[in-house]
């Protein structure tokens, strides 16, 4: 486990690249960057798209401007999203997309959860 260095004090498990300790509960190794509900909404939404701008993500996740902005910064710092500023005509637009490692991290996170759910009794 490493500190993510984003000032939030959350632990960052880099997901697929981590070596999970044998015998540990799978939930203990969840990627905390992805696991936060707000970031999970962002990552899940971006996983289905090529890219979206800030307003589209804000509408889809129902997060406030400040919230979305700070969570995107965390995800960008972890290398999970790419934020690209472009111009459409004279208007500045910020297009956000999931990086390859972001996609990989989400897939790994989903597999871990699936594993936990599969082990639950009926």
């Amino acid at each position: 486990m490493t500190r993510n260095g984003n000032g939030s004090g959350e632990e960052h498990n880099p997901g697929p690249t981590s070596t999970e300790a044998p015998g540990r509960h799978p939930l203990a190794d969840l990627d905390r960057i992805v696991h936060s509900p707000a970031r999970l909404m962002i990552v899940t939404t971006l996983y289905t798209l090529e890219s979206a701008d800030f307003i589209f993500l804000m509408n889809l996740t129902d997060l406030t401007w400040g919230n979305l902005s700070s969570h995107l910064s965390v995800l960008e710092e972890a290398g999970y999203v790419e934020i690209e500023k472009t111009f459409v005509g004279k208007r500045a637009t910020t297009m956000i997309s999931l990086t390859r490692s972001g996609r990989e991290a989400f897939r790994h996170y989903r597999e871990q959860l699936q594993e936990v759910f599969d082990q639950l009794p009926e």
Binding site: T44, L60, T94, R110, L113
Partner: protein, 240 residues
């Protein structure tokens, strides 16, 4: 929209709001295709497509409606119809650009959706073309005197409308288009049937179906404008 649940959502007394929020996300991450579908459907919730297609339905009966309104000069005018068509398309594009995009934002869908859209365009273009060829062929053979030949263009028009709109509804995950398929399909035969009873058959039928579509679109547009106010200018600069 996809994530319209909130920690403060009412209902459910056994779990806290935050727990519910987490649980809903847990369920959603296993059905990402549903999320993509809902994100795509979000682009149809502004009602602009409904208003545009409603106006097109008006235009289909346009010649007869104009004549009934006393503007008979435009009835057979190709130029007039082209002008109306250009105005409709320009209005649609401008509405999308100046109403929807600033409020809903920009999105590029994934490879699968892009493939589906390309396939939809191809299938729709082929269906329209085939329908048009059959329609023209049926019109040309109308002079044979057979009652079936007289009805054939109407039947082909209706079947083609049903096929094209239903394919569009299926491929674009746009359920309202199934209803519009019936509106378009029934409009022409109903107008022809009613023509024997009233001189205003085209105005009534095309006006009714087109009007209902425009009404649905307007209601959706008003709801969209209320739900998605235009972000303030500093926000639109997208400072992350």
């Amino acid at each position: 929209m996809v994530w319209k649940f909130h920690p403060s959502d009412p209902g459910g007394t056994e779990t806290t709001g935050t727990q519910k929020w987490d649980l809903t996300i847990m369920v959603n991450i296993f059905s990402v295709s549903d999320i993509e579908k809902k994100a795509f459907r979000a682009t149809f919730q502004d009602g602009i497509w409904d208003i545009y297609l409603g106006a097109v339905l008006f235009l289909l009966g346009g010649g007869a409606i104009l004549e009934e309104l006393g503007i008979s000069g435009m009835r057979d005018s190709i130029v007039g119809l082209i002008i109306v068509a250009v105005v409709l398309i320009a209005g649609f594009l401008m509405a999308k650009r100046f109403i929807t995009v600033p409020r809903l934002g920009r999105v590029k869908f994934g490879a699968e959706r892009k493939k589906k859209i390309r396939k939809t365009r191809l299938v729709l273009a082929a269906s329209v073309l085939l329908g048009l060829i059959l329609f023209v062929f049926a019109l040309l053979t109308q002079g044979s005197g057979s009652p079936f030949a007289a009805l054939l263009p109407l039947v082909i028009f209706s079947i083609n409308c049903l096929v094209v709109f239903s394919l569009g509804a299926y491929y674009l995950d746009w359920d309202r288009a199934y209803l519009y398929a019936w509106f378009f399909a029934l409009s022409m035969p109903l107008a022809v049937l009613l023509r024997e009873h009233t001189a205003h058959a085209f105005t009534i039928v095309f006006g009714f179906f087109g009007g209902v579509m425009i009404l649905i679109g307007t209601v959706l547009l008003v709801r969209f404008l209320r739900a998605y106010p235009r972000p303030a200018i500093h926000n639109r600069e997208n400072g992350v």
